[in-house]
């Protein structure tokens, strides 16, 4: 294989790798940007019940 082809193949392969990486990053970003599930919040100041011993 000539040097030109070797370098061309290597460059092309590095671009393919960069594209895969880019896709993974976009996927991770879209997951990070996704709003989290709504959390049920208590409106009361009392968050736990205290049970007094009898």
């Amino acid at each position: 294989m000539s040097t030109k082809k070797q370098v061309g193949s290597k460059l092309a392969s590095s671009v393919r790798q960069a594209k895969v990486q880019q896709k993974q990053q976009s996927k991770q970003k879209s997951v990070a940007d996704k709003p989290s599930e709504p959390v049920e919040r208590s409106t009361s100041l009392i968050t736990s019940k205290r049970v007094w011993p009898d």
């Binding site: 040097t3 030109k4 082809k5 070797q6 370098v7 061309g8 193949s9 290597k10 460059l11 092309a12 590095s14 671009v15 393919r16 960069a18 594209k19 990486q21 880019q22 976009s26």
Partner: protein
């Protein structure tokens, strides 16, 4: 009149974006009234034109636009046949996205280097989004600073075939005359006989696009 808008974009600095923008604009000016919009905060296009002498002014008006991009473009489109936008060298600013969205054609100068090719991957994915719903929108990679004897330069065509964005047949070789033209505030069209090969490279790109 409604101008054809070309945006010269790049995901990283040092790709010769302004060199392409200014010489390309000078070539277009031979065909119709042309304006350069310097949207790069570094202001290199404005600096370039400011170095021109009064006897030999740069053949194209250069203006700087920072905000209200879409509105400004609309205003200038009526007065010019061609508008060339020198974009900021990053995708992390809204101006770059607006400038590419305002363009009929985006040109992406790319050096024959792996790092430049990798940087082009993200830009290409953004351009794919802009293309949606715009059948006449075009984008091309332009090889800049090509060194025909270097193995990497010769391997570029194979590497560029991995992109969804096509590469222009026309390219710019690595030539000192491009840097000398910037220093004198002119385009390669005004640098005499020694710049003829460079001027021909720019004309080839223009003919390929128009």
């Amino acid at each position: 009149m409604s101008a054809t808008v070309f945006s010269i974009a790049s995901q990283k600095g040092g790709t010769g974006k302004t060199t392409v923008a200014m010489n390309f604009a000078a070539g277009l000016a031979q065909r119709g009234r042309t304006l350069v919009i310097d949207a790069d905060p570094q202001g290199s296009a404005g600096q370039w034109a400011s170095l021109a002498s009064d006897e030999k002014p740069f053949p194209v008006s250069v203006i700087t636009v920072a905000g209200g991009f879409s509105r400004e473009i609309g205003r200038f489109k009526r007065d010019y046949q061609y508008i060339v936008i020198d974009c900021p060298p990053t995708l992390e600013t809204e101006i770059t996205h607006q400038a590419m969205a305002a363009a009929d054609t985006v040109l992406i100068p790319t050096l024959p280097s792996p790092v430049d090719l990798w940087a082009g991957v993200r830009l290409a994915s953004v351009i794919e989004q802009i293309k949606i719903g715009r059948p006449t929108f075009r984008a091309y990679m332009v090889i800049n600073q090509l060194e025909p004897r270097s193995a990497i330069s010769r391997g570029m065509q194979q590497a560029l075939s991995e992109f969804d964005i096509p590469a222009l047949q026309g390219h710019l070789r690595r030539r000192a005359i491009y840097r000398n033209a910037a220093l004198e505030g002119v385009s390669v069209y005004c640098m005499g006989k020694r710049a003829e090969p460079a001027a021909q490279e720019i004309s080839n790109i223009i003919e390929e696009l128009l």
